[in-house]
Symmetry: C2
Subunit: 333 residues, 2 copies
């Protein structure tokens, strides 16, 4: 196996976040399901934005947030995602590169604008996302560079890629290349509603070996196996995939593999401000632990630490060096 150039390469929908603090009434008035991610078209995007309060903008996108977290921990990271060559797309490309992530995907020069997510954060810190995919819809297998994919120890994919029409083909292509090069492929289930849309396909990806590692939170896991019993779902997950990592908010996470099940506690926080990016940053810490061969427990702790950092401020990307933070807490970097 060739020397890896990157530790983790992420593929996802490149989405610019437009964040606003709001109240429950706004969600109810606009028929939004709290805590979820709804796909919206241009017309609905305009209607929601018209009614929203003053916002703060920053680059987001689930896998992109994860990859920025991986880079912040000190690993070599790359991202594949599609923006348009417009003002927001240029902000997006700047931010991910400025975080130390390689981005070589060509921006779209025609078609819809760079994708945006209107993220409503309520007083309890919960985020409700409304995503207009925009240019992210135009990610195709042609954007997958075989040499680049083969040069990453882990290829990390987001379940949200099932939403744009041709991104799933890019996903499957990337997985084949990665496995051909002896690399590992990880998938996050992204969102319980996303799982609901693509349940059968996600289970197939696990059973046919397209993915080696699954990240899920409890509600995604329950949705995947259509059961409200955690142990039943976890047992099934263990059978379907080599490595399954399930996050359980303040209860920490559970790592299920052929070696057994390891439970890792969450990290204490002083104030929950905004859960946006919690799962993304957990995955960042866990993936980093894996590439450093730190063991499942340390990987889980690194994930918990990164998640704890990101939920204590507005926005889905770390505001401090996660490497320094991990060092401070005696975790391996």
């Amino acid at each position: 196996m060739a020397e890896a150039k990157y530790d983790v390469l992420g593929i996802g929908n490149a989405i610019f976040d437009v964040l606003v603090q709001t109240d429950e009434k706004f969600l109810a008035d606009h028929g939004m399901t709290k805590g979820g991610m709804a796909l919206i078209d241009e017309t609905r995007a305009a209607a929601i934005y018209r009614d929203m309060g003053p916002a703060t903008e920053m680059s987001g996108g689930s896998a992109a947030n994860t990859i920025v977290g991986v880079a912040s921990l000190g690993a070599r990271a790359a991202y594949v995602g599609k923006v348009k060559d417009d003002q927001i797309g240029r902000l997006y490309s700047h931010d991910i590169r400025a975080a130390g992530v390689a981005l070589e995907t060509k921006p779209a020069t025609a078609g819809p604008a760079t994708g945006c997510s209107y993220i409503l954060v309520t007083g309890d810190g919960e985020r409700t996302m409304n995503t207009y995919l925009g240019a992210a819809q135009d990610l195709t297998p042609a954007d997958i560079d075989a040499a680049q994919i083969a040069s990453a120890k882990i290829v990390y994919l987001e379940g949200y890629l099932w939403d744009p029409s041709s991104a799933k083909d890019a996903f499957v292509k990337a997985s084949k290349i990665a496995h051909g090069a002896g690399r590992q492929v990880a998938l996050t289930l992204s969102d319980a509603f996303c799982v609901d849309r693509y349940r059968g396909e996600f289970v197939d990806l696990m059973r046919n070996g397209t993915v080696d590692l699954i990240f899920a939170n409890e509600s995604e896991l329950h949705s995947l196996y259509q059961t409200s019993d955690f142990d039943t779902a976890l047992k099934q997950l263990k059978q379907d995939v080599k490595l399954g990592v399930v996050t359980r908010s303040e209860k920490g996470c559970v790592v299920a593999s052929s070696d057994g099940v390891t439970a890792v506690p969450a990290f204490p926080i002083s104030q929950l401000v905004d859960t946006t990016g919690a799962g993304d940053l957990f995955a960042a810490g866990f993936l980093f632990g894996l590439v450093r061969n730190a063991g499942y427990e340390n990987a889980g702790l690194l994930g918990a630490l990164a998640a704890a950092e990101v939920i204590q401020h507005i926005g889905a990307r770390p505001k401090v060096s996660l490497k320094e933070l991990a060092k401070k807490h005696g975790l391996p970097v």
Copy 2:
């Protein structure tokens, strides 16, 4: 005098803020003067942005921040400022309207992009601004609607308007209309370097009665009269303008009028995060106090409270309702 439709109408450079936390070395390496506002051209903007870390974006602009603060306190507010009809300009227009401010200025359809300021915030909370004026350069007297100006109790202008070539003509036109309608005209000196560029003109504006009220911080006041002695400068200010308000950071502010001099303390804060918007929000509180006829001391306290709110988080606009905050502290709203 006709019934006023607005309490305060602000005219300023409409600028989108691109904020990043950085260190002193970045400022030194890029030849930036800490704490100031430097005007930059497109080439320098690109060079600074290329080297900057991942950023957070939000709408800004000095007078615009003030006007948003006035609206947040519960007064009727309007803003005149020029963006381009581009993605960033649309974010900008949304944010100020969503804050409850009337914005009727037509966006530019050609010419440079919406203006941006690259704001570097160092660990001590100090901000260093690099502003590309962009479309703000195209604010002209044609953007001044006589009926709208005449309908505001106070017209508030920023010294930064002296930088774009034709905005000062818009400024003088607005002042004439306001005075013709029996209204008051306020000016903030904006920045010590700005004062250095236009010292003589600013003094003339005061002496010839174009402005009735001046906002300045200590360094702007010292720059205006080219003296390092505060009392000498304040005495001169008292002679030159009907009402002078000088902010002195943690020492509070001093209000100088024909009635004498009133000192008002600053508001205690728990953590200084980012001074961006401190002066803007002080002016918001003070102007609000004036339109409510709350007296100079209460006006100063309202200014201090609004400034204290904005320096305890990233960004130059309030994150909570200033009206509620003022109520909580027993100040008149």
